[in-house]
Symmetry: C2
Subunit: 504 residues, 2 copies
């Protein structure tokens, strides 16, 4: 997932103005806007059906499930929504999809989609994950429940509904569009950069003002975050094994032999504990902070503002966390969240993992690790430094299997994309929080880094949650006046495109 859907946790105390009180999301002539709204309403049933049908075809890169089919479906969706060209872009992995819509406009906007979804276990769901059943979510309203509902087919299909509405209403799009969709987001976008830098794709992207991924992360107060960047990440496995170590057993052994046989599990523990400070909170990998850029005065000011506007107690409760690291006050904790690289243990696996015990000496022990990176760290640098750190301490046998990752991203506050987002939210009467850096990570670095070098971020009204979890959902008919229903979210994208076209 884009890993940014944490907005629902960062609940703020401020009550935003009600959407219902500001129904006209418009910069265009009221005539066009009225026509669009009419078309959106008329197309709402079709838009819902579009989301449901897309959910019924899950493309799962990790399982190599329906990938080409998913790419073909994505291309067809784009064509259907008015893109004149939609082409499958082969990669070394699963294909991307590249589409363009020339509206004869002055400006061009980039759109990033992912057509893949996370794995799922139907047994954990309260309705079949591919059925996309419409259920009542108390406090939110009617929602589509299904894999990919919020991450990311629901919001993406909503953007497509906007394009359908323009066509149905006979209203000219205010900007041209370049769409790049990938099918490997959930496995860390290993080949997406290749697709984005194919000469013709790159040339098209270079014409864009910026690029957004459609999102729908309004909280219960209707608030949204506008992120000026995101942390990078490397995800990896550290593996200690008898096979590589040439000590210890090649296969699990009876534990009584520990007295004469070395243990890969202890080897892993010893290597792990060198990676962080004794409190587990600061990376201790050699040279890790060399390129870390401290927060700027502006970033600190934004965090101070956010700290004041956020409800620390609510956040602690919803996260199930009694105290922040070092018992920091809220503002410093938020500064730490935005500014500090991390080395996190996602999982530990060795030997017997079931209930009770089993007397084995495991041949292999694995730590699943993610390292969050901040500007100006890079994924390549982090990977290299981790390897060097282990080697220097004699852990040359410990495998470092990097499965994916992204560089950090940064998008200027004064870019047209950010200003258009803020203007759109403001028109809708919503409180948008400027967040200097999302602590999560997403493939935006493909766009923000050279050679593409575009502003990139998330945009959208509406609400959904449960990315990667059972009962993932996307609200289509909101009972909360501060949160957009599907038609309002659809209009939100229209207004955003007008903002992009009109902003100075």
């Amino acid at each position: 997932m884009t890993d940014a859907s944490r907005r629902d946790i960062l609940t703020h105390g401020i009550i935003g103005a009600s959407l219902a009180a500001a129904p006209s999301l418009t910069l265009a002539q009221s005539g066009d806007m009225a026509k669009l709204r009419k078309a959106v309403d008329a197309g709402n049933d079709a838009a819902i059906k579009r989301i449901q049908e897309w959910i019924s075809l899950p493309s799962i890169a990790a399982e190599n499930r329906d990938m080409l089919k998913g790419a073909q479906y994505m291309a067809a969706l784009a064509k259907d929504a008015g893109f004149q060209k939609a082409e499958i872009v082969p990669t070394k992995g699963h294909p991307a999809v590249f589409a363009t819509l020339d509206a004869g406009a002055k400006r061009t906007m980039g759109i990033y989609f992912m057509y893949d979804v996370k794995q799922f276990d139907p047994a954990e769901w309260s309705s079949p994950p591919l059925e996309a059943r419409i259920v009542d979510k108390p406090g939110w309203g009617k929602a589509i429940v299904g894999r990919g509902a919020i991450n990311q087919k629901g919001p993406e299909a909503t953007f497509l509904a906007t394009l359908h509405a323009f066509r149905a209403a006979g209203v000219k799009l205010p900007v041209n569009l370049v769409l790049l969709a990938e099918g490997e987001e959930e496995i860390g976008s290993p080949n997406f950069s290749d697709a984005a830098t194919r000469p013709d794709v790159l040339a098209a992207l270079k014409r864009c003002e910026g690029i957004i991924i459609p999102a729908a992360w309004q909280d219960k107060q209707g608030n949204v975050d506008v992120n000026l960047g995101s942390k990078g990440i490397i995800e990896l496995e550290l593996i200690a094994s008898g096979a590589k170590w040439k000590r210890g057993p090649a296969k699990d052994l009876h534990s009584s032999y520990k007295a004469m046989v070395d243990s890969p599990s202890w080897r892993l523990v010893q290597a792990l504990q060198t990676l962080v400070t004794p409190d587990g909170n600061t990376p201790a990998i050699d040279g890790w902070f060399e390129n870390v850029r401290p927060l700027s005065a502006r970033e600190k000011a934004l965090i101070a503002e956010n700290a004041k506007r956020s409800n620390e107690a609510d956040m602690k409760t919803s996260m199930g966390v009694p105290v922040w690291i070092d018992d920091l006050p809220f503002q410093q904790a938020l500064e730490r969240l935005a500014s500090q690289p991390t080395v996190n243990i996602e999982g530990l696996v060795a030997g017997y993992t079931g209930p009770g015990g089993k007397t084995v000496l495991p041949a292999r022990a694995v730590a699943k690790i993610d390292c969050r990176l901040v500007p100006n760290q890079t994924r390549a640098e982090a990977t290299r430094k981790l390897r060097a750190h282990l080697d220097k301490r004699g852990f040359t046998d410990i495998e470092v299997n990097v499965s994916g990752g992204y560089d950090p991203t940064e998008t200027a506050e004064d870019s047209r994309v950010i200003r258009a987002e803020l203007a759109t939210y403001k028109k809708a009467g919503l409180t948008a929080t400027l967040n200097p850096r999302l602590a999560g990570s997403w493939p935006g670095a493909v766009f923000t880094a050279p050679p593409v070098s575009l502003p990139a971020g998330h945009f959208g009204l509406g609400h959904g949650s449960g990315a990667h979890a059972p009962d993932e959902y996307y609200v289509i008919e909101s009972t909360n006046p501060k949160v957009a229903s599907l038609p309002q979210a659809t209009m939100g994208f229209a207004d955003f495109l007008y903002q992009i076209a009109a902003i100075s």
Copy 2:
């Protein structure tokens, strides 16, 4: 399991004399022996069926599966085999079974049974684990495959077959018998000591020369081990959690929050690494070696002899281990195996354990640990010292959940039980290796420690393997002339009982 079935790995280089070449396992009058042998042969089909039917009723303490039924079945088996009294002994957990057979003999022998078996997953088996199908095991012969086949129903039912043969042949048993069977061996015998020390049970046990559990661990050369003791063990989970720590998350959290939230997984790693030396090979828990008794000159001499007679290369190959700890020569490695206490990681479990990664900050991390204990360490002492060690380092929040364990055992080389075992094996033409201490562990401490204070060990001919694993088996018709078939193993117990009766 009694954890001692490692004999099949410790292959020795010596070729024992063939069983076929020494068919008359006898001290008794040849007339009685001939009658017994005839009865054994006549009862062989019934004996096989007895094993199969017992396997078809799996009592699994960890799953609370058929425990009372299993105890009742055990009592019925004892009665059926000639025990005049067989009684279910309630405990705080699952019941034990206590049975006595008064043969009017001078001496009394104790027999320990377990009626429970280890959990199993039928999907991993090549024939249904409760069907007890007879299959051909290349290199061994016809074997019963099923859960409990070797651990321990097969050998136990073979002992019962011996008693049936005495009765069928009209031959008087040379010793009286006291049988104590438990149903919680596979969960660490938490209540067995209570059963063994119930006044009437204790009184009966006190009359015994010693106590054996039937076993069948001949290797391909026909060799067997006679163990003069075994290591003790504590099995436990070390658990770090946000809930107990009052830091970190109470439930798994998105990993981006690591920058402001403490990690129970790192907490566990830090605690773990204090428990052993940096090479992972020597316990570093405060005071751990205080009561450790070094090997005696006799024990060292036995190990030196065993090292000479064993094939180090074969042992390394079958264990999949290229080198011993510290690149020790074989004899020192075997000394380490017998003499050193260990702290072993059986398993590690935290957060996401599936394929690939998942960006979570786990709320809980668990290390499954077993600590092997040597004389004169005790389970109680080890548990106490581990807790104190963690507390002293500030890890008061880390839970130590001891799930089971045994004290070390020691049985004197000059006890009647050991001498009778050696004599029986010698008569059978087998090479018995005197092993000063089994590195594995079994509930024998219940018998060797006060107040029971009996010599205790394993005895039996025959072969089986795969305890706790899929396709566990017990050979009933051996194609290897050095390894006993079921009738020979049945006669082996008869001979052993005569040895006990006759030995000075």
